[in-house]
């Protein structure tokens, strides 16, 4: 039995070497030339993604600084103070997400050991998917502090002080929207999720997360003897 399997493996090795010889003679693909053209295109694409990530960090910084100044000057107006702090936290989250995105784009050293770099990529992929999901969900509520802060900042109008019921209505709408989206994403029947998913752009998030987790599990299994 062992002899037989060794024979098989040797045959496969020989076949592999035959393929190697054949590939060595392959002149169809001029790697050097193609790589040069592709490199230019890839670099342009990468530059664009880097600009987006840097833009996100810059916007995050602006939001953070603006909100820090805003809430520190409204310490005695609870609604505005809370709105400023929430947006401040959002600005910090934007910075962190932007930096992580830049790490993903720039710091991937493919010359590192395969297990190390694949684990790093799978973790970043998982982190990126989760972040996008939570950023998207947060929009249901974030527009409320944005409205409060901008009304105060631009027009000196404290909506909460004038009409708390309106703000309460905003919060109710936000919570209903958030719960409806959560239901759609996590608990709705699969067919409905898939149909509506195209519009919500979250249809694949669950599958992508599962795939990223499966990659991490596979790497962990591979590392174990």
């Amino acid at each position: 039995m062992t002899m037989e399997s060794t024979m098989e493996l040797d045959d496969l090795k020989q076949a592999w070497q035959a393929l190697d010889r054949q590939l060595q003679q392959q002149k169809r693909i001029n790697l050097e030339l193609l790589a040069e053209t592709r490199m230019r295109k890839a670099r342009a694409g990468l530059r664009w993604l880097q600009v987006l990530a840097v833009g996100q960090v810059v916007v995050g910084l602006v939001v953070t600084i603006f909100c820090a100044r805003f809430w520190s000057s409204h310490l005695h107006e609870p609604a505005l103070l809370l709105s400023g702090i929430v947006l401040h936290a959002y600005g910090v989250a934007m910075i962190v997400a932007g930096v992580m995105e830049m790490l993903l784009l720039v710091r991937t050293d493919y010359a590192a050991q395969v297990v190390t770099i694949q684990k790093y990529l799978a973790l970043l992929r998982q982190w990126r998917i989760r972040t996008r999901r939570w950023f998207a969900l947060a929009q249901w509520l974030l527009w409320i502090p944005v409205t409060l802060v901008m009304l105060e900042y631009l027009f000196g109008f404290n909506l909460w002080a004038h009409s708390p019921a309106t703000v309460g209505g905003f919060v109710a709408v936000g919570i209903v929207g958030l719960l409806a989206t959560l239901w759609l994403v996590f608990w709705s029947p699969r067919a409905l999720r898939r149909r509506v998913g195209d519009y919500v752009d979250d249809s694949n998030t669950g599958a992508l997360l599962k795939r990223a987790q499966a990659s991490l599990d596979e790497i962990a299994r591979f590392e174990r003897e």
């Binding site: 496969l12 592999w16 693909i29």
Partner: protein
């Protein structure tokens, strides 16, 4: 980081020579990880691009094949896991295998062995596929461990498991 912008003519020549000398690694990895001819060409180019980007960091004192294998396998595994690639080119396995092994340059028996081998490769997880590829290429246990980032004893264990999987999977090609 951006190699070609800062590369001197000597650097460029050095890179081209290395790529020419070890291009087999690029093609073999592309063949093991992509099914359609289009995907294989795509992957081979992507590997070449990443080799080029990593070239300024290459240490000539270290083995070139180890460096190339790391980059090629990392790119190939990422390519396999990328969502866009899956959606673009879904090729039935038999057609893909035929595409690879179909040629007059090898005899019938070798072509058949290649088909069997590619069918087996297609059943493997990306990391085991990398290990098999290194094994078929007759790399030392030490180099396999260096490329993959696992211990030498783990490499040995996994290879014996792969042999078992091959035994379960592959029918002996011709009983002479």
């Amino acid at each position: 980081m951006h190699a070609s912008a800062t590369m001197t003519a000597d650097d460029r020549q050095g890179f081209d020579d290395l790529l020419l000398q070890h291009r087999g690694i690029v093609f073999k990895v592309a063949n093991a990880y992509a099914r359609s001819a289009e995907d294989r060409a795509d992957l081979a180019q992507e590997i070449a691009v990443q080799l080029w980007r990593a070239w300024p960091g290459y240490d000539p004192a270290r083995r070139a094949s180890t460096w190339m294998y790391r980059i090629a396998l990392n790119v190939a595994i990422s390519f396999l896991r990328s969502d866009g690639h899956r959606r673009r080119h879904v090729v039935p396995l038999d057609e893909a295998v035929h595409d690879i092994a179909d040629d007059s340059a090898v005899d019938h028996e070798t072509a058949e062995s290649l088909r069997v081998l590619h069918r087996f490769i297609a059943t493997l997880e990306p990391l085991n596929r990398a290990l098999l590829l290194l094994y078929l290429d007759e790399r030392s246990t030490r180099e396999m461990a260096e490329v993959l980032g696992i211990s030498e004893s783990n490499v040995t264990t996994k290879i014996s498991r792969l042999k078992q999987r091959i035994r379960d999977h592959v029918a002996p090609p011709g009983n002479e």
